[in-house]
């Protein structure tokens, strides 16, 4: 039964953009879409702002105008944060999918978000840390702990790293860390409301100051990811072949793990647990450029930004004047996607 479930080779893919030139063009189209999504994110919301006013807010800032103030203090930070967090999660997802050879891999499914949240909540509630930089390190630590445990649990046993084992381990770790978080929050009680909204994932009400400490680490991680395309492609042909071609497989895998932890941990410490972006985006991008990681990483980078910006605009517009946590919107998009992949059969990437 298991053999049948895993054994099927994935169908050959016919990506939309196959040649180098058209792939570059596709990247430019995505960039354009990202800019459009960012503009939409600036304009739409509780206070609707026209495009002209938005331009004016940057050229002739008037602190008396409500629209201008909203743009500068609310819309601009959240647009930038949504784009950065989306990009980070999508690249982290792409890395994890290659590292674990598992199409269901993503930071939320594998318990990395829950681990980062638990450590940050411990930092805030128990140790009363209020420096954002310190909290970020708590986030990284939580992400790393969870990633290592899930990876180890997923790879024990005769068949090594099987998709189902690692997904189950991730689910259990998520449950475990959530229950710890719940215990800490219930025991403390103060500030539950704030922490709750942050935990379900949201980019509203965050200032750019929250992003600054994380940004350098994310940038380093993205640069590593972008430069590793060729190495990852080789790794995807199989550990043995990669080793035979002279690759230091362990170093490549460790680097991929590091990138994942930095990106996912950083994203969580800024925006809480925004689930399933890391699952959906790499798959959508694979339909565009195929499984070539030299292209898949930059595509995911832009695609993640676009998806999260659009999700955030949706979160604002659905139940005006109040708004949804971003995590709810992404789960509603990502859940059916997860089911679709699970139905198709979890074949090794």
């Amino acid at each position: 039964m298991n053999a049948r479930y895993y054994g099927r080779k994935s169908e050959p893919m016919f990506p939309l953009f196959r040649q180098g030139k058209s792939r570059l063009a596709g990247l430019l189209v995505l960039l354009l879409l990202l800019i459009l999504a960012a503009i939409a994110s600036m304009i739409y919301g509780r206070t609707s702002i026209t495009f002209a006013v938005a331009i004016q807010a940057f050229t002739h800032y008037d602190h008396q105008s409500v629209a201008h103030v909203v743009l500068h203090t609310e819309r601009l930070p959240r647009t930038i944060i949504a784009a950065v967090v989306g990009a980070a999660l999508a690249v982290a997802g792409a890395m994890m999918q290659a590292l674990t050879r598992n199409p269901l891999a993503s930071p939320s499914v594998f318990g990395i978000n829950a681990g980062a949240i638990f450590c940050i909540v411990i930092g805030v509630v128990v140790l009363s840390v209020d420096s954002l930089t310190t909290l970020m390190w708590f986030g990284f630590a939580g992400a790393a702990i969870s990633a290592v445990i899930v990876y180890l649990l997923g790879s024990i046993g005769r068949d090594g790293l099987t998709p189902i084992k690692i997904v189950l381990a991730g689910t259990a770790m998520t449950a475990l860390f959530s229950s710890f978080t719940q215990a800490v929050l219930v025991l403390d009680g103060t500030g539950l409301q704030d922490v709750l909204f942050w935990m379900t994932g949201s980019v509203s009400g965050r200032s750019l100051e929250m992003l600054y400490p994380v940004l350098p680490y994310m940038a380093i991680a993205v640069i590593i990811a972008l430069s590793m395309g060729r190495a990852i492609n080789l790794l995807l042909t199989g550990d043995d072949i990669a080793r035979g071609m002279g690759q230091n497989v362990l170093v490549v895998k460790l680097l991929m793990g590091l990138v994942t932890v930095l990106l996912a941990g950083g994203a969580v410490s800024v925006a809480g647990s925004v689930g399933l972006v890391g699952l959906v985006v790499p798959h959508l991008m694979r339909a565009l450029v195929g499984n070539d990681y030299r292209w898949l990483v930059p595509y995911s980078l832009l695609g993640g930004g676009i998806l999260l910006l659009l999700a955030d605009v949706t979160a604002r517009l659905v139940i005006m004047p109040s708004e949804l946590p971003l995590g709810v919107v992404t789960a509603l998009i990502g859940g059916p996607f997860f089911i679709y992949i699970a139905r198709k059969g979890v074949t090794r990437l």
Partner: protein, 347 residues
Amino acid sequence: MKRTLTFRSRKEHVSFRLEKRSLFVIGMLALASVLALIIGTGFGSDYIAPLDVLRTVMGWGDGDFDFVVLTLRLPRVLLAMLVGIALGMSGAILQGIIRNPLASPDVIGITGGAAVAAVGFVTLLGGALSIKLLPLFAVAGALITALIIYMLSWKSGVTPIRLVLIGIGVSAITGAGTTFMLIISPFYTAGQAYIWLTGSVYGATWTDVNTIWPVLLIILPAAILLARSLNAQEFGDDLATGLGVTVQKHRFLLLACSVLLAGIAVSVAGTIGFAGLMAPHIARRLVGRMFGSLLLVSGLIGGLLVFAADLIGRTLFVPLDVPAGVFTAGVGAPFFLYLLFRNRNQF
């Protein structure tokens, strides 16, 4: 000495066997439950001696403890136990049908469906309909979700692995739905909602108790009767068919029982995680795989588990009240990981 007792009606229309060992285990667990009920009710912000508890419950007391025991503690302790029984039995049935040690109503996503229906009911219809209908909606939500999961998992047959994976996906959606309902709801504050979602019997009333025991009373005999076919199903579908079991029909009815039990538990106590996963495993250690007794033992152990979780939550952190679900998940999730480790060559 024989290890089993056999009963036959005069014309041998009805016959069943009981293992002496199972009888003994069931007896001990029932005794432990009753003792736990009496002693557990005594614990709280101020201690009441078991004898006083017993007197008060029987109506022989002088009325000193009436309010604390009868109104505050007894319904809560009883509810914890009944919820645990429902979850333990639900998990045992599910693991029997799916033949997978990692199955339980929460892992499969059924409790998530009950939760979203319950919260949706309060949020959308809370003003219009009586709150007494809540269990009905929770159970309906559980049934519909189970049906959806089963249909989505169907692809020329249902494999346990696909069922679990689809369950995880569906859980993500129902979880998001629940959060959505809570956020737009005028009835919950975030804190209350959070505690409910974690699973707690805090603030239990006799109404809650009276909601759940009739359901248990109806489903228990039905499940035990149907359990006979589970014993045959353990051998595989073909052999079970050969033994005269209408496999698909029985499986469907049993699934319905399991879902009903999980749904009713969620409707009164929220999502108390992993109790339905752990109880059947402990029960199997005690009485083996014969399903009639396994079901009872699993229920009793589930009851004791949730009772213990609630007792710790309300006595150890006074004046705070930690939801029982925190402890069941705190113990249950590592247990799940342990099961995964033990069955590492299966997945």
